[in-house]
Amino acid sequence: MNRTVLRLAAQALFGRRRGVVLLLIPAALLLLSVLVRLLTDEEVGVEAAVGLGYTLALPLVALLAATAVLGPEVDDGSVVYLLAKPVSRHVIAVSKFAAAWAATMVLGALPLLVAGLLLDWSQPRRALAFGVSAAVAGTVYTALFLALAAFTRHAVVIGLLFALLWEGVFGSVFAGVRWLSIGAWGREVGSDVSPLVDAAGTGLAYAVVAATLLTAAAVWFTGDRLRSFTLRGDE
């Protein structure tokens, strides 16, 4: 971990307009939760609001955070200022990941826990389970989107398609997708915290191992891409 890279990544996150959008997403989720609590019947509302937060807001926050700490710098080549230093590329990758991860936890996972509490005071353990699910899934999302940002300049679009189509549409239509769905792994871990969260059916061990492996592989890949970063002219 390199504190300077961490600090620069944090400044990249909140020094730009993107930082505001990053704050708007959890704010919208919490607002929605309050409205749902006031206007609807409890059970239906919890499902809908948390479902929306988990399948849409969380990956979106992770995507914005992960691409903000790396995307623009790689795109415009100014990451060379970071790379023309005697610092290991993997240390840079891990530090960037740490910054994006912290943002995802605070602005993606924590709001889900709070939303769970806002929607139903009587089930704090279920709210905690939402938070845990989101923490697990958010961690993997962040790592995956970071690797994507290191790999292609179209990371935002591809990440968005992945979150909406694979995790969202296919995940809910085809049961088999759960083996390869980050959201399903998170739900599986959450269901271990509270039985009120539906298990995805992959088994806790599989979910934990898959999430850990994918996160580690994605962060390592990011470092490896940075090692091979190539400076190009305008030609």
Partner: protein, 304 residues
Amino acid sequence: MSVLTLDQTSRWYGNVVAVNGISMTVRPGITGLLGPNGAGKTTLIALMSGFLAPSAGSVTLDGEAVWRRTDAYRGIGLVPERELSFGYLTGRQFVLANAELHGLDDPGAAAERALQVVDMVDPAGRRIGTYSKGMRQRVKLASALVHDPPVLLLDEPFNGVDPRQRLHLMALLRQMGGEGRTVLFSSHILEEVEQVARQIEVVVSGRHAASGDFGQIRRLMTDRPVQYVVVADDDRRLAASLIAEPSVVAVSLRREGGVDVSVSDFGSFAVRLPRVARQHGIRIRELAPTDESLESVFSYLVGG
């Protein structure tokens, strides 16, 4: 004292050859890398700074390859052509971050020293987003100097910088070279290069076209035959009198009017042309060089 060596270095992208078998040694002092846009200057600097793997040949700094060797950056300061995109940082924050990343003992003092060298202490508290092009260029230089590197590589450092700041930057580079650093900068403007560097390397279309002292290169570039087109009220008479001039090597009449003149020594041609016209009572309506573009100068050099 550090020496950068390229040995038969080539770099290609698919079928496109960006750098073609270049061998050069960059020694302490200032070296100017001169070539038209798209000649491969940025690619060469990327190779020299370890941000591009050579497809063939080698790039070494004091005998060690630079590609994928992060430790090499202890000895290299790089000023890329790309704009700084850290507009949300102040100049001081940016230079300080560079000092910290180098793991210096006292990054704060190193940052201040570097800012002082480039004369940016006062504006360093402002955000980079508010800087002029010249100020950005100087902050980039400060960030490259912060660890006092023996090698300094600069890609088009004078591009878009106003004349006063250009002079300042040039003086800085001369000072760096005088201190025994190995300084290499690229430019597509001959006048710019010869004001700063004694040693000039010319690259054209990825090839090493010429190498040597600036006087030598200057002569290579100006002593070539130059083409002009002259339009007069009596083209044929003008052509006849011009061929008698020692500085003129060929004339030909254009069908649509005008005379194409090949000149071996454009200095004396410039003096003689008006005299010849006056002597023969010829009125000159138009005089234009037909191949004065830098690209044609470079292609002349490559053609030999």
